[in-house]
């Protein structure tokens, strides 16, 4: 990688790390409550294999939940696209689901569906369902100009209009939904794991915190941050690519 380009993109993050390091060095908080980034990095490098399985677990659930949420959102948007009655009936459900802080519902969901990994999956998919539904609903209606009339003159049926026109037209908006969804997916997975202690980085964080192993706990959250950032940047790149290809 070009070091100059790396610096251009990461100077602010590096600055943040340096500030953290100097803050730890200049204050006299006990090392049990406050640790320096260098000591966290040391633990990450020395004990890398310990982090591997929880990281993969979290990544798997985040991506699985994301896929489930995106598909459900798209499916519901298609249903609304076909019928204005269903669209009207489903609006309140969707609106309430957006405005409800889902993360606050994790304790409830855990009670309803059990303290199991399936609840974890469910939480992430509810969280990512909404952007997918909203953006897909907009995208299915954002057609190239006059293309709807063109389809009408050829007597295109509903199915043809969906598969040949509306769905491909919705792809750029779906890419936006994917980006928005990825921004949440890892974070929500980690919180769910933390609360339900099902496994993954959130569970690792909870357990190591109880053991006052702050280095490892922060190491786990650092990995979660890295995963989240990487996913988000990948989704951003994909969105750019899709936008070029589809408009």
């Amino acid at each position: 990688m070009n070091p100059l380009r790396f610096l251009k993109k990461s100077w602010a993050v590096l600055l943040l790390l340096i500030l953290w390091q100097t803050w730890v060095m200049t204050t006299n908080y006990n090392s049990i409550v406050v640790v320096s980034p260098i000591s966290v990095a040391k633990d990450l490098i020395l004990h890398a294999p310990v982090y591997l399985v929880p990281a993969l677990w979290t990544l798997g659930f985040a991506l699985g939940g994301l896929a489930l949420g995106m598909l459900t959102g798209l499916a519901l948007a298609i249903i609304c696209w076909t019928s204005s009655i269903l669209s009207g009936l489903l609006q309140p459900f969707a609106l309430i689901l957006t405005a409800t802080p889902i993360v606050c519902l994790i304790p409830l969901l855990a009670r309803l569906f059990g303290y199991q990994s399936r609840t974890e999956l469910l939480t992430v998919s509810i969280m990512t369902f909404f952007p997918s539904f909203v953006y897909a609903a907009v995208g299915l209606r954002r057609l190239p100009r006059r293309s709807a009339e063109f389809f009408a003159t050829l007597h295109a049926g509903r199915f043809k209009r969906l598969t040949l026109l509306a769905l491909p037209a919705a792809i750029p908006e779906l890419a936006v939904a994917l980006r928005v969804g990825t921004a949440y997916s890892i974070l929500v997975t980690v919180v769910a794991e933390f609360l339900m202690q099902t496994g993954g980085l959130g569970n690792m964080f909870a357990v190591t915190m109880q053991e006052f192993n702050l280095h490892r706990a922060l190491g786990a959250s650092l990995i979660a941050m890295l995963l989240s950032t990487a996913l988000y940047e990948a989704a951003t790149a994909l969105e750019k690519h899709v936008r070029l290809r589809f408009t």
Partner: protein, 253 residues
Amino acid sequence: MATIQLTNVSKEFRLARDKRVLALSAMDLTIAEGEFIALLGPSGCGKSTILHLVAGLDEPSTGTVLVDGLPPKDLQAKQQLGIAFQEHALLPWRTVEANLELPFQIAGRTPDRAHIAGLIELVGLKGFETARPSQLSGGMRQRASIARALCLDPKLLLLDEPFGALDAVTRRFMNLELQRIWQQKRITTILVTHTVEEAIFLADRVLVMSGRPGRILREVTVPFPRPRTVETMRLEAFHHLVDNLTLSLEPSD
């Protein structure tokens, strides 16, 4: 080919609760088989409304529209209607070739590759088969759009200001090209335009319209024999006719 019959057609649009606008009033029009008609008029004179009624995209408020004695919806169902708009309406995610396959897919037929290749050649887009609309110039997009309108061998071709967004030079060139394409097909065609030269150069018959409510002011049969060329456009009689029609387009008050 098709004949078109409009009888006592009017069209009213509702703008708000009790605001209505009469876009067309008591229109009678007959178009013969294989005829090229140009509807000429200022914007908002209802010329596009006629096109939409003939295409079956809209229903008349009163009167009847018949294509070969049947409602336009029947022509739609048989996929015998070709249409091209000013906004090319090509799907941006498809290549030129794939855009021409679209009518076949909508009709549920297997795309006729040889036919598509022939049309691409006819409209002069050979070599651009795999280009996407965003990679083409405005004129090339309109060529692709017209080729797509011709894909299913329609009985009726409707052109809604197809060159309205092009510059004057490209437009004139496209007029020559459209005539060349049309002479090979000889399909009944309605062209909507607000350019006098374009209407006279392309059509057998020009209908001059006035706005609000839309009515036919004049009807002119174009005397120039086909094929018309650049030389035709330089004829004294051509200029004379252009001036004459331009005058009748000007607001009377």
